[in-house]
Amino acid sequence: MRYLPHTDTEIKEMLAVTGHDQLEDLFTHIPEECRYQGEVDLPEQLSEWALSDHFQSLGTHNSASSTKAVLLGAGSYSHNIPEIVPSLIGRSEFLTAYTPYQPEMAQGTLQGIFEYQTLTARLLGMEVANASMYDGASALAEAILMALRIARKKRTIAISTAIHPRYREVVRSYLQAGSFTIIELPLTKDGRTDLSGLQDIDDLAAVALQSPNFFGVVEDLATAADTIHDIKALFISCFSEPFAYGLFRNPGACGADIVCGEGQSFGMSQSFGGPGLGMFACRTKNQRTIPGRVVGETVDVDGKRGYVLTLSTREQHIRREKATSNICSNQGICALTAAAYMASLGGTGLRRVAKLNYDKADYLKKGMVQAGAKLLFSAPTFNEFALTFPNDFEPARKRLLDKGIIAGMGLGSFYKEYEGAYLFCATETASKAVLDAVIKEVQS
């Protein structure tokens, strides 16, 4: 086997040094009752070539290999990825390194992550960002736990029902062991979160919104921030589509205290939902309660600028059960990917691609409405929007599928009250021809 470099002679020589006759003798102290019985039931090993054939066949069993377009978002987005991003970040000096415990031989990772933290903070309008969380969902859960730490005695949080349903599920999982109360906030008719009931909630530590929310609706974050701060609660703002902030005012500028979300859009393939990137940012005054790893700037013994993992006394390997989070491995290479992606776009490119995303989705939205569909919500949207149809959309969806276009996701499985409504998504990767085909199918 090519990954196992020992020759038989070397094995003998090494066993002579360790004082054993054969490899099995290295395990004689393991009690018989703990031993594996027989050989593990696994397929016969495959050569590199047979393995490639196997994957080719697996790939063809997925629709992604034959479809022309997937007009579906809901937390996983199709965006163009410049070749330089995977080429550079796939360099094995980055890819095959561990967490940078020895900073002198990990300055590439460390400067790269410091740049990621900086670009993330700028994108979100925040003062500090951490080195990443697992995904948007766990980032939100950790943001809520952080808010509860800051708020100390308060035990209630309010979260918008327009936050991605899967994120809300993860929040419930993370909070199930603590004695916390989670209140879900309803929506107004225009698709934004209804904050009018907040004053009546006692003991409220934080309020969490998503913008653009699950329905693509851009929340009025500035007004929300005032309302939330008036009742002395912390404002957590999350997202699943960071491209929105190339066009819409970011949560930091609107007054959010903690901002978190999913960064998959910035250079990661969709890969059946992972790995993505949990982006996480907060205000400087709360930086010592942030979860996860952070990279900081410092100097070496010669006074030269360098980077290290820092504020580690918050972390599990020092604080153990009193740590701000149990996270150890994060999404390092995904954070570096996002940084390289943001660097490739630049401020100018980010704006242009964000506008193009808006235009494409708007084109589809207007076309569908003209074709007879109705908007579920009236507020402005980015990339995604929800529609209802005078007649059942399902036959049109099936016809489109036959043409290699996957369009629209039924909302009924996530929200019973929106049974029959569909969520659509169009990014810069959707061509006008595909959008026209969808509109035409609805017209007929």
Binding site: Y3, L4, P5, T18, G19, F27, E39, L42, P43, Q45, E48, F55, G59, A64, S65, V70, S78, N80, P82, I84, F94, L95, T96, A97, T99, E104, M105, G108, T109, Q111, I113, F114, L123, V128, S173, Q176, A177, A222, F248, A253, Q270, G273, Q287, G296, D300, T310, S312, H317, E321, N326, S329, Q331, I333, A340, A343, S344, G346, D359, D362, P380
Partner: protein, 487 residues
């Protein structure tokens, strides 16, 4: 002086991203604007005036990251004997397989019939991991080992809730990774510290004295973080089970025992695996990892939902899981990491996985025997895939573990794990892994011995190390006292 591969090299300076560039440059190929512009219709109060990212050309970006990569060290660069982290070779073909277009472009919310290929990977990997550990069922969802631990602790909580029992404590050995107590605390359990015995393993009587009916059970790592096999594991798990408790096995060190130990027979009820350790997926300078959890049958209903089932010849996501602890990830975890581990297992087969463990243990024992006359060996018991020394001998002439570690860098080696586990003062934990050959180990051993000799003769040389890296020892106190987290 024996030389490792480290000599001085050409190191290029590179500023921070925003210290270069000019407004108007671009490294992005802008797609065609084939639809009308519409953004001017947006309410101005909602609009952003512009994000302050530097504008860079394609060559700017390429040089930037290429230069940064030159300051980094990975498994592909050289030996990385970081104990407890299993820094084995990460096969190239696995990256290619994970990038198969039908897999890399798969949207996670399509109907099952449009996702048969990806669901097949998940189903088969669930089966492989169950077979490898001896356990009955698997969830692939946890995104890293620590999330796997958390899933395990939530499972414990759900199990006792269902039984109507209120238990609040959990036993955790002093040698455990910090993630263990942090994960337990996150799930509402109070960690009770189990002191390991002088021989480095757990003492049955200590466990018996502390286990009671207010305790959910124990979290243990086997082989433990000292690289020793907990030989009394069956007696320990029997004590826990007799009091109605459950046993969590941290699988961080699975690389020592693939095909050799059956964890269900050991009495483990839940265990996580680190695919980025044992199953060769790259660590990416911090992640992503994957931390699937394997459980015995009675705990299967509590696993994170959904899991993949096979009906006839097709694969389905099972969502009807009333006792499940719920979701831990928006979709299915770090899926492409799962694909790489699946690719690795298929490339190896059962015989080679077992051989990998045997060779990992052989390499560690070889290093242990070769360095024990110059470094203080922390424990006399036979070691598994890693061995733990300390700087006790070197302290006599004021050389510390840190000094030796930093000097190894000058010689082109990533240092071992240092100052962990905490029970060994000045610990030096070496895990060579099976993918290092004898020649490379011999060179590492010779260099390490020379570093020790150097320390005796010219200690300052070690205290000044490293000297040929881009930057030298960094002021970590300053970094923490006056945090500068963004530029």
């Amino acid at each position: 002086m024996t030389h490792g591969p480290g000599i001085s090299g050409l190191i290029l300076e590179e500023p921070l991203l925003w210290e270069k560039g000019k407004q108007g440059r671009s490294a992005f190929s802008m797609p065609e604007q084939d639809v009308p512009e519409a953004f001017s219709e947006i309410d101005e109060n909602l609009l952003e005036s512009g994000i302050d990212f530097p504008d860079l050309s394609e060559v700017d970006v390429v040089r930037h990251y290429t230069r940064l990569s030159g300051w980094n060290f990975g498994v592909d660069t050289g030996m990385y004997p970081l104990g407890s982290c299993t820094m084995k070779y990460n096969p190239k073909i696995n990256e290619k397989m994970a990038a198969t277009p039908g897999i890399a472009m798969a949207h996670p919310l399509l109907a099952d019939e449009l996702s048969q290929g990806t669901l097949q990977v998940m189903f088969e990997l669930q089966t492989f991991l169950a077979n490898l550990t001896g356990m009955d069922a698997v969830s692939l969802q946890p995104a890293a080992g620590a999330q796997g631990e958390m899933a395990g602790m939530l499972l414990f909580a759900a199990y006792f809730r269902k039984k109507g029992e209120k238990r609040t404590k959990i036993l955790i050995p002093d040698t455990a990774h910090g993630t263990n107590p942090a994960s337990a605390a996150l799930c509402g359990f109070k960690p009770v510290l189990l002191e390991s015995s002088p021989d480095g393993t757990l003492d049955v009587q200590t466990v018996a004295d502390l286990m009671d009916e207010e305790t959910v059970g124990i979290m243990l790592t086997n082989p433990n973080t000292l690289g020793l096999f907990e030989e009394s594991i069956r007696e320990i798990t029997a004590i826990i089970h007799a009091k109605g408790g459950l046993v969590y096995g941290d699988g961080a060190n699975m690389n020592a025992v693939m095909g050799i130990v059956d964890f269900k027979r050991c009495g483990v009820d839940v265990m996580h695996l680190n695919l980025h350790k044992t199953f060769s997926t790259p660590h990416g300078g911090g992640g992503p990892g994957a931390g699937p959890i394997c459980v015995v049958e009675k705990l299967q209903p509590f696993l994170p939902k959904p899991w993949v089932i096979k009906t006839g010849s097709s694969y389905h996501l099972e969502y009807d899981c009333p006792d499940s602890i719920g979701r831990l990830h928006a979709f299915f975890g770090n899926f492409s990491v799962l694909v790489k581990a699946y690719s690795y297992i298929l490339s190896m087969g059962a015989k080679n996985l077992k051989k990998a463990s045997q060779l990992a243990v052989l390499n560690a024992n070889y290093v242990r025997e070769s360095l024990r006359d110059v470094l203080h060996l922390a424990y006399e018991k036979p070691c598994m895939h890693e061995c733990v020394f300390s700087d006790k001998i070197q302290n006599e002439y004021k050389i510390t573990t840190l000094d030796m570690a930093k000097r190894l860098i000058d010689h082109g080696y990533h240092p071992p794990t240092i100052y962990f586990p905490l029970v060994v003062p000045g610990a030096i934990m070496i895990e060579p892994t099976e993918t290092e050959n004898k020649d490379d180990l011999d060179q590492f051993i010779a260099v390490f011995k020379d570093v020790i000799r150097e320390g005796r003769e010219d200690g300052e040389r070690l205290r000044q190390a490293p000297t040929i890296t881009k930057i030298r020892r960094l002021d970590e106190t300053l970094a923490a006292r006056r945090p500068c987290l963004v530029g």
